[in-house]
Symmetry: C2
């Protein structure tokens, strides 16, 4: 096996399990010869799905797990109680070094709790942030944090900035990524206590390319590559993307069907419009890494389809090859040293 | 004068002063015979603008003020130093009961600080929230708070809910308005400390129609009439509306111009599209009341045009006729009493 990237796929997580995660896994091993996939979950169900496809069998393995964590379950309790769930079994494989990464579309809470409790944080990391990629006018940005922890402190946000910057540089290939702090104005003195406490930390950090505050209005325009904020605000930003986008698209469609003239026009613009809107759909960039852990945990959208599973699995290659966990550990250790010397 | 509604218009505030505020004032007195407008600012400039129009002269007055507060000035200092600015002179008229309301498109910070310092809060009001109307799929909702104060406490949000509910019911005519609390999930136990502390207060309040938590994704769909949140998150919601909307519209236009086929289609759908998008533009609903004060202070968007000034001026009629300040005072006093009895 040597240099293969071994990715666990939670075959029981998400709205379309096991069909879509299994199909995504098959597509990933077909597309890239470095990928080795472990499908975790109910053996019989997974086997039945796999039978639909032809694929390199030597790079797909089934790992049986008899339980499933449902979306509504309280995360901490579920992780503790369901030891033989696909998620817990998969996370444990990452912890033990039997796999490099896990991709799950299951309950966000359970993935967050399980990731921190089972895979565990890198030494020095205070909190592990969930960092989805969001579409912008210029490409994509990393929104960090987006659900892992509320009521954050400035030191947390400072670490998020470093981890996000490393991710964008080494996994996404953005040179010297621009880091910005979400605020209600561009001026340094604006904002709440958390933001005012975070700004000087980011400004003083020579390892990141901090460009200052960013107003939410400038996020979709792509003015920064790494958008630093605490989880509550991050969640609101992500959900506003979805909400405004969905309503606007429905309105545009409705508006176009209001007259014969525009109905004809609508038919003509439909293909172009569809393509455009697809590129601006948050769920297209389904794989959000939970950063700062000793292995890679990727959370994909609950309604993920095969293509998102595939993309999330392929994302793991860069993560492993670039030794992202190692880089994060180094950077944070270097900063602690600087702080200690001051 | 009797039953006239006397509205001060800050003729020097905003990107298009004095042209647009003056035109908006003229349009308002022309449209509604109950409106009396006091245009505050540099007399000569205002007079020159007024000469362009014919209008009922007995309901338009110029109140001279020699100074102007600029957008970049630190608000507290500006309010203290520029006693003869259009904003301070106008707010002072409201405070002295010489006018019922003021509409200003000037610096948000200065309007907020000036409103609280000069017009002053109603007895019992802890903080005066800024509450813009935002477009939704079903109409409009009130987003409260949106910039007046960061680092809020549960008791503040509880008052915001009451004030917002009164505004939507008596000014906007929404019967029994649905009140929701912005959270990162629909479940009661989710969220940060502020939200967890606020939820039980809203749930226990029998004077509002509290429907529970709302995720940001459901705000544009119009699932609630009054959206309660603290100012930082409120600001992010408002700015995301603008940002996602602007980028999506640019993308749609670009996408449609990519092929001849869709170019022809674009020409046909253009009028329908324009109309649709206008209805979903945050700046169309420019007038955000600063609630909880002893008079009405309405902040309009910095780039407001005459139509927004006119609408904001007309909005003041309901506010006065329904005695909103009186209703807010009554409700808060009643609640204090209930709390005292418990």
């Amino acid at each position: 096996m040597g240099d293969l990237v071994k990715v666990v796929v939670d075959a029981m997580g998400g709205d379309f399990a096991p069909e879509e995660p299994v199909k995504g896994a098959v597509d990933a091993v077909r597309e890239n010869a470095e990928i080795y996939v472990c499908l975790v979950g109910k053996e019989e169900l997974i086997r039945r799905e796999l039978e639909k496809y032809t694929y390199p069998k030597e790079r797909v393995e089934i790992v049986p797990a008899s339980e499933v964590i449902e979306t509504g379950e309280p995360p901490v309790k579920a992780i503790q109680a369901k030891k033989d769930s696909s998620l817990v079994v998969g996370l444990t494989m990452v912890r033990k070094g039997q796999a490099d990464a896990i991709v799950s579309s299951g309950s966000t809470g359970a993935v967050l709790v399980g990731g921190q409790a089972i895979v565990r944080k890198i030494k020095g990391v205070e909190r592990a942030p969930l960092a989805p990629l969001i579409p912008t006018e210029r490409g994509v940005s990393l929104l960090i944090d987006c659900g892992a922890s509320v009521d954050a402190r400035p030191s947390h946000l400072s670490q998020f900035a470093v981890m996000g910057s490393i991710y964008m540089e080494y996994v996404m290939g953005v040179k010297n990524p621009k880091v910005a702090l979400v605020n209600i104005g561009a001026e340094e003195e604006k904002g709440n206590e958390l933001v005012k406490g975070t700004f000087p930390l980011l400004k003083a950090n020579k390892n990141i390319n901090f460009i200052g505050n960013i107003e939410a209005r400038d996020i979709p325009a792509g003015k920064a590559d790494v958008i630093v904020t605490e989880a509550f605000v991050g969640n609101v930003i992500l959900k506003m993307y979805e909400g405004v986008g969905a309503v606007l698209i429905r309105k545009v469609k409705e508006g176009m069907l209001n007259s014969l003239r525009s109905k004809i026009g609508a038919l003509l613009v439909k293909p172009a419009l569809k393509k455009t809107l697809k590129g601006f759909d948050v769920s297209e960039y389904g794989g959000a890494p939970l950063l700062g852990l000793r292995g890679l945990v990727v959370k994909t959208h609950g309604s993920s389809r095969a293509v998102e599973f595939k993309n999330s699995i392929l994302q793991c290659i860069q993560f492993k090859e670039q030794d992202l966990s190692g880089k994060i550990q180094e950077h944070l250790a270097a900063e602690e040293k600087v702080e200690g010397e001051n």
